[in-house]
C-alpha cells in the first residue's frame, strides 16, 4: 500500500474523523528516513491509547510505530494483554486472535503474504507481552525461530502479567512477591535473549525504551534483518509502574535505573554473521544516499 491509497473522497472529507484526516494529510507512510524525530511534526500511527497514565508501554508503542521502516506494507500481530488494548488505535493492519499464538499467526500470515505478493516487501512484526511470548506462547515463539520464519518478534517485558492484575510470569525476577507467587518467585528470570540466539534468531537485543533513538535503531535493524535473512527478537523493558508501586512520572527513571551496566536490562545485542553483513551494506547505502543528497543540496545552493 502506498500513501495514495489513503486518500479521502472530497465529498466525504468533512465527515471523516479528524484523526483520519490527519493520517491522510501528514502521516509518514512511505517516508524513507522516517523515525522518532517525526513525532510532534507529523501524524503518528497511533491515536489515543487506553493504557495507564505514564505507562512506558505507551512510549514504546509510539517509538516503534515511528520507527517501522515500511509501515505502508507492514502487518502487526499482537496477543492478549495490555498491548491488545492499544492495537485498535494503531494505523497499520494488525491482528489479535488468541492469547499466546502470536508467532503461529505471524508464521501463517508471512507465508500467505509471500505467496500472494511475490517480489514485494510485506513486513510482519509481532508485538506481545512477556506472558504471551515466554509462558503460554513459548512453544510457538521458539518453533517460529527454529523454522527461520522471516518476521520480527518484539516482547514488551514488564516482568509480570499486568492486564490480569500482576501475577507471576516467567520473565519476573526471582524472589519478587506477586499474585500467584505468594512467597516470592522461586526460579530465575527466563533467559529468553540467550535462548533466542540458540534458537536461530539473527538479531537479538535486550534493552529498555528510555532512549527513542536506540529504539529506532534496533527496530529498523530487526525489521530489515527479518525481511532479508531470518527471525529477529527484541526484548524491551516496559515496566508496569502500577504493579511495582511507582507513580506515573517514574517510569522513565525506572528504565534508566534498570539499564545500568550491572543491571538486567543493560544493553545486550547479538548479530549473526549474515546479519552483520546486511547491516554493513545498509549502512553503506545510507551513507551513499546522504552524500548524494548533500551533493545535490550543494549544487542547488551554488
Amino acid at each position: 500500500m502506498s500513501k495514495e491509497r489513503i486518500q479521502i473522497s472530497e465529498d466525504l472529507y468533512d465527515i471523516m474523523p479528524s484523526d483520519y484526516q490527519d493520517l491522510v494529510k501528514s502521516a509518514t507512510y512511505g517516508k524513507e528516513d522516517r523515525g522518532w524525530k517525526d513525532i510532534g511534526t507529523s501524524k503518528e500511527l497511533i491515536e489515543q491509547h487506553s493504557l495507564c497514565a505514564g505507562c512506558p508501554e505507551s512510549m514504546a508503542f509510539r517509538y516503534i510505530l515511528a520507527s517501522l521502516p515500511n509501515p505502508e506494507d507492514t502487518v502487526m500481530v499482537g496477543s492478549t494483554g495490555c498491548t491488545s488494548l492499544v492495537f485498535p488505535m494503531v494505523a497499520v493492519h494488525n491482528i489479535h486472535s488468541l492469547f499466546g499464538n502470536q508467532n503461529a499467526i505471524a508464521s501463517g500470515l508471512k507465508r500467505a503474504l509471500s505467496v500472494r505478493f511475490p517480489g514485494r516487501v510485506k513486513d510482519v512484526v509481532v508485538l506481545a507481552g512477556d506472558g504471551a511470548t515466554v509462558d503460554i506462547g513459548l512453544d510457538m515463539t521458539l518453533q517460529a525461530w527454529f523454522r527461520q520464519e522471516k518476521f520480527t518478534t518484539i516482547c514488551f517485558d514488564n516482568e509480570l502479567y499486568a492486564n490480569t492484575g500482576g501475577q507471576e510470569s516467567g520473565l519476573m525476577q526471582k524472589g519478587f512477591v506477586a499474585k500467584m507467587a505468594p512467597v516470592g518467585k522461586l526460579f530465575d528470570k527466563v533467559r529468553l535473549p540467550e535462548i533466542a540466539r540458540e534458537s536461530g534468531c539473527h538479531y537479538v537485543v535486550n534493552c529498555t525504551v528510555s532512549k527513542p533513538s536506540l529504539v529506532e535503531k534496533v527496530i529498523r535493524n530487526a525489521v530489515h534483518i527479518a525481511r532479508e535473512i531470518g527471525p529477529t527478537y527484541l526484548q524491551l523493558y516496559t515496566p508496569c509502574i502500577l504493579e511495582i508501586g511507582k507513580n506515573s512520572m517514574e517510569g522513565l527513571q525506572e528504565m534508566r535505573d534498570s539499564e545500568k551496566p550491572t543491571e538486567r536490562f543493560a544493553y545486550k545485542e547479538y548479530v549473526s554473521e549474515p546479519a552483520k553483513q546486511l547491516l554493513a551494506e545498509l549502512a553503506a547505502k545510507d551513507k551513499e544516499r546522504k552524500a548524494a543528497a548533500k551533493q545535490l543540496a550543494g549544487q542547488v545552493s551554488a
Binding site: Y20, P88, A104, I105, A106, M140
Partner: protein, 403 residues
C-alpha cells in the same frame, strides 16, 4: 456481460485451467478412479487452487496431510509446512487466512480437541478456512479408532459443519465447500468431517473431475471484514476493545457480532442447498419407520433397509449432509409420517439423536440408537435388530449379547 477481471479460462502455473466451479462440478467429464479416502483428499486439493496448507501428524489424517505435501512439491499448493501442534497449526491457518490466502488443513480426534480454542476465533474473525476432520476417539484410554464424538464439540463453534458419507462426497464437498465458505454473506470456516478409517483408509470408486481444471482462486477482497495485507487503508474498527469496557455498549457490540456469525451460518443454507442439492437426502419418506443418520452410519442404515425389505418391513432413510447449517425444516418434513425414528451413531452420547429430538414434534418417536463407539463397527444387523425389537418383532440374538 463478460467480467474483464475474470480469470476463468486462463491457466495457472501448472497449466490447469481456472474453470467456473458449477461447470467443473456438474458438467465436466468425470473419470472413475479407485482410490483411498486420503488419496481422494489429495486429488480434490490438486483442483482447489489452494494457497496454503499446514500439516501435523495424527492418525488417521496423517496420510492425507503428507500426500498434500507431495502436491506442494509438485507446485500445486502455494506454501506448505508441518506445524508444531494442532493448536499452533490452526493459528497458522488463521494467520494465512487473515493474510488473504485460501487455506486448507486436516486434523482428527485429540488434535481437534487440542486446537479447539481456535475454532470460535476462526468464525469470529470470519476466516473461510477449510478443515478436514477424520473423526477418531478422543477419550482416555487412548484410541485411534473411528468415533464421531468430536463432532459434537464443533457444533457450537460458529463453523459450518458437514458430515461426508463416502469418498465421493469428500471429493465433491471439498471443492464445493470453498464455494459456500467464501461467499461474502457467509465467509465462515468449514469443518468437513468424515468417519476416520472407514472413509480415509478404504478404497472406493470415485468419479474425479479432470486434473487439468481447477477452481477459480480465492478473492480476499470479497470478505466482509478487511484482509490484513495493508492493501486497503487501515481503519479503526473500534474505539476501545470490547474487553476493555464493562458497559452495555460493549456487551451489545459483542452480542451483535456473535449474532452475525450465526446469521451467516443461516445464510449459508441457500448456498449449501444450491451446491449440495439439499441439506439432506431422503428416501421412502412415506414409511412409518425412518432411519436418520450422518456419515458412514448412512451406508449401514441403507444396508439395514435392504435387509428389512427382505422381511417385508418398509423403512425410509434420511442422510443428513450438513449439521451446521442444521436442516431443521427438511428433517421435520422428511419424518412427518414416521412413527419410529432410529438414529444409528458412531459415538457414545448420541449427539445426532439429541439434535433431532430438539427439532421434531413428538420427539418420543426417536430411538437414539443403535450406537457404537471406541472403534466398533456397526453391522447393519444391529440396526435391523434395534428396529425389530422396538416394533415387538422377534429378532435373532446377536453374538456376545448374552440373550
Amino acid at each position: 456481460m463478460a467480467d474483464i477481471h475474470s480469470v476463468i479460462g486462463t491457466k495457472n502455473k501448472k497449466g490447469q485451467t481456472y474453470t467456473d466451479t458449477w461447470k467443473l462440478m456438474n458438467e465436466a467429464p468425470r473419470t472413475p478412479s479407485f482410490y483411498t479416502g486420503s488419496e481422494v483428499i489429495k486429488e480434490a486439493l490438486r483442483r482447489a487452487s489452494c494457497d496454503v496448507m499446514i500439516a501435523y501428524p495424527i492418525t488417521p489424517q496423517s496420510e492425507a496431510a503428507a500426500l498434500i505435501g507431495e502436491l506442494f512439491a509438485e507446485g500445486y499448493i502455494g506454501d506448505y509446512f508441518r506445524g508444531e501442534s494442532e493448536f499452533a497449526v490452526m493459528s497458522q491457518c488463521a494467520g494465512a487466512a487473515f493474510g488473504g490466502a485460501r487455506v486448507f488443513t486436516t486434523t482428527a480426534g485429540p488434535g481437534t480437541m487440542r486446537a479447539m480454542e481456535n475454532f470460535p476465533m476462526w468464525s469470529g474473525a470470519r476466516l473461510p478456512i477449510q478443515m478436514i476432520v477424520t473423526c477418531r476417539g478422543i477419550n482416555s484410554p487412548l484410541s485411534i479408532q473411528p468415533d464421531t464424538l468430536e463432532i459434537a464439540y464443533l457444533l457450537n463453534t460458529g463453523m459450518l459443519v458437514w458430515h461426508a458419507e463416502t469418498a465421493q462426497d469428500f471429493f465433491d464437498w471439498i471443492l464445493k465447500g470453498y464455494m459456500v465458505s467464501e461467499e461474502p454473506d457467509v465467509h465462515l470456516p468449514l469443518a468437513l468431517c468424515c468417519d476416520g478409517f472407514f472413509v480415509t483408509h478404504t478404497k472406493d470408486v470415485v468419479n474425479l473431475t479432470p486434473a487439468d481444471m481447477c477452481l477459480p482462486p480465492y478473492d480476499p477482497y470479497r470478505s466482509p471484514v478487511p484482509c490484513m495485507d495493508m492493501e486497503c487503508p487501515p481503519v479503526r474498527m473500534m474505539r476501545d476493545p470490547f474487553v476493555m469496557k464493562s458497559n452495555y455498549i460493549s456487551y451489545a457490540t459483542h452480542a451483535s457480532w456473535q449474532q452475525e456469525i450465526w446469521a451467516a451460518v443461516e445464510r449459508s443454507r441457500k448456498h449449501s442447498i444450491h451446491w449440495l442439492n439439499g441439506l439432506i437426502d431422503a428416501e421412502n419418506t412415506d414409511a412409518e419407520i425412518m432411519i436418520v443418520a450422518s456419515g458412514t452410519a448412512v451406508s449401514q442404515g441403507r444396508e439395514a433397509i435392504r435387509l428389512l425389505e427382505d422381511e417385508g418391513v418398509r423403512c425410509g432413510l434420511v442422510k443428513v449432509k450438513t449439521l451446521r447449517p442444521w436442516p431443521e425444516e427438511e428433517i421435520r418434513e422428511a419424518t412427518k409420517n414416521a412413527k419410529h425414528i432410529f438414529v444409528p451413531e458412531f459415538n457414545v452420547t448420541g449427539w445426532l439423536a439429541k439434535e433431532i429430538k430438539a427439532t421434531i414434534p413428538n420427539p418420543e418417536r426417536v430411538h437414539a440408537g443403535p450406537r457404537v463407539c471406541g472403534g466398533m463397527t456397526m453391522p447393519p444387523e444391529i440396526i435391523v435388530s434395534e428396529i425389530k425389537t422396538a416394533l415387538g418383532m422377534k429378532t435373532f440374538s446377536l453374538a456376545g449379547r448374552g440373550s
